[in-house]
């Protein structure tokens, strides 16, 4: 199982707002066959986002949902050099992590997502994603840090 693939990396994410950006990232999941219903999945993400925006200090946004339209746990990484307002108090987000979990995913899958969430709190992890020159590097960093630590 791969949490992320090169097709799930968007290095030039430049969208007007977080909902458009989320759609761009989600389309990558549809392209990889990991989301079966784009609008259904986006509605689930939006529902979570409306409870409280998922932007966090340090310029990151983590739109996420557990959804019946997701076939396997996935991460889409988006880098928005221009910044997108994700509702955080300290400014727009430049690193976007769209986390998709299947409804009722098994424990092993959920544990990987838990490990991913923990890595997001590490400055070095964020920094290496910020500096990654290409999609292959992003996939390598995530795989090394999260999937096979």
């Amino acid at each position: 199982m791969s949490l992320i693939t090169e097709k799930l990396v968007v290095l030039n994410l430049d969208s007007a707002d977080r909902h458009v950006a989320t759609r761009v990232l989600a389309e990558a999941l549809v392209g990889e066959g990991r989301v079966t219903d784009l609008d259904g999945f986006l509605a689930d993400v939006r529902k979570r986002e409306e409870q409280m925006p998922t932007g966090l200090p340090g310029g990151i946004g983590i739109p996420h949902a557990r959804s019946a339209h997701v076939t396997e746990p996935s991460l889409v990484f988006g880098r928005a050099t221009g910044g997108i307002d994700w509702g955080a108090e300290d400014g727009p987000a430049t690193l976007i992590f769209l986390i998709a979990a299947p409804e009722g995913g098994d424990e092993a899958h959920l544990k990987i997502l838990a490990a991913l969430a923990r890595r997001l709190m590490r400055t070095e992890f964020r920094q290496s994603l910020m500096n990654a020159p290409d999609a292959t590097t992003v996939v390598d960093v995530v795989t090394r840090e999260v999937v096979n630590p």
Partner: protein
């Protein structure tokens, strides 16, 4: 310092774990240790009771309510939104340090959730003795907070049954309603009959009351030993009912069951045995031990006590009636449904059954004194929670509102939650008021031709105005006593069901 934390969030896949990471990093940076229970979608591994017990403070960084919150009852607590742990872990750790220090400096204040005292305040060390006392009060309060819904539901249903019965049958309705067999309601419930409705309310209330002592005992044991305590506690509580030990017996059952379960769950057993410990061994042995103690060790002395008290009371019959009223009052309020209370009540109802219809007979006066003395404890507590709210926990204050109706209906059990939470101060207060009321009723010469019913049998009371006066005086005495005693000692214990205030610095 040592901390424990719980993190949670609505989806349970991201913030929960980020918050845990944030707290762990912050604790490490400040040279503290922390164990975090992540209540996310991947299930959660419970922190061990030992870890929680050893922690100096608890941090809840949560987006959805903490599961099994009772495990953390009584610990100094910092509660914040889950995002706070992500954006400012060090800030939360600093608050936890302050909460732990406030607890050490002034245990009562920190636990009651009141603002932490300024640094440099009293710096009494918490000695072993005091902390044991505090833990006992926390255990009791946990049991009480789970028992209260049964008291409120059962008591109000019974009171409503009495009310409706009085309308349906006339002045002896409150007596007749208790005589309708449950089987008759089951086989022939008539929705058009007010009598059937009254009997239904009454029987449902009685069923709810059947759980008071088992739930009290079960959750005291739960507070002591966590989940393994529930089975022995509840069974022990039920046995306390069987042997007529009342709520004090239930408290004993809770402690016996809780410590039996705790002791057995700490046994070092071979790996192959571990799987069957929680499902078979711990429940089997802890329930058996509790049953053995309740039936063999407690059962016989209690029966002997009850028999002895009964014959003593019978010997007093010819003595001074006012003194008899005082004694009956003391007995009614002592254990509220326990063995001593039962002896006094049975003494009165037995006399009532053999009494002639002539009013003014001694038996009718005794019945009047017993009922009045059984009404003042809940009324006194209700009044106390109304005039001095701060002396009581949130759960107690809510129970206090129901206690008005319960007291007025001669449902002494309305005071049990207060007595179980703080027996040493509440029971004597109740006894003082009841003794006064019992004596006054005898002095006024009131009579009563019903074995129960409270204000719903007013037509059967002789000189009802003086009767009410006796009850009011006893109520005021109980209120004054409990307020004085509570104000002098430690404040209320924050219990699992209370709204937890944030400890801020």
């Amino acid at each position: 310092m040592k901390f424990v934390a719980v993190t949670s969030c609505p989806t349970g896949i991201a913030h929960t774990y980020m918050a845990a990471e944030g707290l762990e990093q912050a604790a490490q940076a400040a040279d503290h240790t922390i164990e975090v229970e992540t209540q996310g979608s991947a299930g959660f591994d419970r922190l061990s009771p030992e870890t929680i017990a050893a922690a100096d403070a608890v941090i809840f960084a949560v987006g959805v309510p903490v599961r099994e919150r009772a495990r953390f009852a009584g610990k100094p607590l910092v509660e914040a939104d889950v995002k706070k742990a992500i954006s400012d872990g060090p800030g939360l750790i600093a608050q936890a340090v302050a909460a732990a220090e406030a607890e050490a400096a002034n245990p009562t204040a920190a636990r009651a959730g009141s603002p932490a005292p300024a640094a440099g305040g009293l710096s009494t060390k918490v000695d072993q003795h005091a902390s044991t006392g505090t833990r006992i009060r926390q255990w009791l309060m946990t049991g009480v907070s789970y028992m209260i819904p049964f008291v409120a539901a059962g008591g109000i249903l019974i009171a409503l049954g009495f009310m409706l019965a009085q309308a349906a049958w006339g002045e002896t309705g409150a007596i007749l309603v208790t005589k309708v067999p449950l089987a008759d309601i089951i086989s022939g419930f008539n929705p058009g009959s007010a009598q059937d409705w009254a009997a239904l309310l009454f029987q449902t209330g009685v069923a709810s009351f059947g759980f008071l002592v088992p739930i009290l005992a079960g959750f005291i044991a739960f507070a002591i030993a966590d989940r393994p305590g529930l089975a022995p506690g509840i069974v022990g509580g039920a046995l306390a009912g069987v042997v007529g030990a009342g709520f004090l017996g239930g408290i004993a059952a809770g402690f016996i069951g809780g410590f039996a379960a705790l002791w057995i769950s700490r046994w070092k057993v071979p790996k192959g045995m571990r799987g069957v410990m929680p499902v078979v061994v711990i429940p089997l042995l802890s329930v058996f031990i509790t049953g053995l103690v309740m039936i063999v060790v407690l059962g016989r002395p209690l029966k002997a006590l009850a028999d002895g008290l009964a014959s003593w009371l019978n010997g007093l019959s010819g003595a001074n009636l006012i003194l008899l009223g005082v004694i009956l009052g003391l007995m009614m309020a002592f254990d509220m449904g326990g063995p001593v209370n039962k002896v006094a009540y049975t003494f009165a109802t037995t006399g009532l059954a053999s009494a002639t219809t002539a009013t003014g007979g001694t038996s009718l006066k005794i019945m009047a004194a017993v009922m009045a003395a059984g009404m003042t404890p809940p009324l006194g507590m209700a009044l106390a929670t109304t005039i001095r709210r701060r002396l009581f926990s949130e759960a107690e204050r809510e129970n206090g509102q129901a206690a008005w109706l319960l007291g007025a209906s001669f449902i002494t059990e309305g005071a049990i939650p207060f007595a179980a939470a703080d027996p040493l101060r509440v029971i004597p207060s109740g006894m003082l008021g009841s003794a006064a009321t019992g004596g006054l009723v005898m002095l006024f010469g009131n009579t009563l031709r019903a074995p129960h019913g409270g204000i719903w049998v007013t037509p059967l009371i002789g000189s009802p105005l003086l009767y009410v006066l006796a009850i009011v005086i006893g109520t005021l005495i109980t209120t004054a006593a409990v307020v004085t005693l509570k104000a002098a000692g430690p404040g209320p214990v924050r219990d699992a069901l209370d709204e937890v205030e944030m400890v801020s610095v």
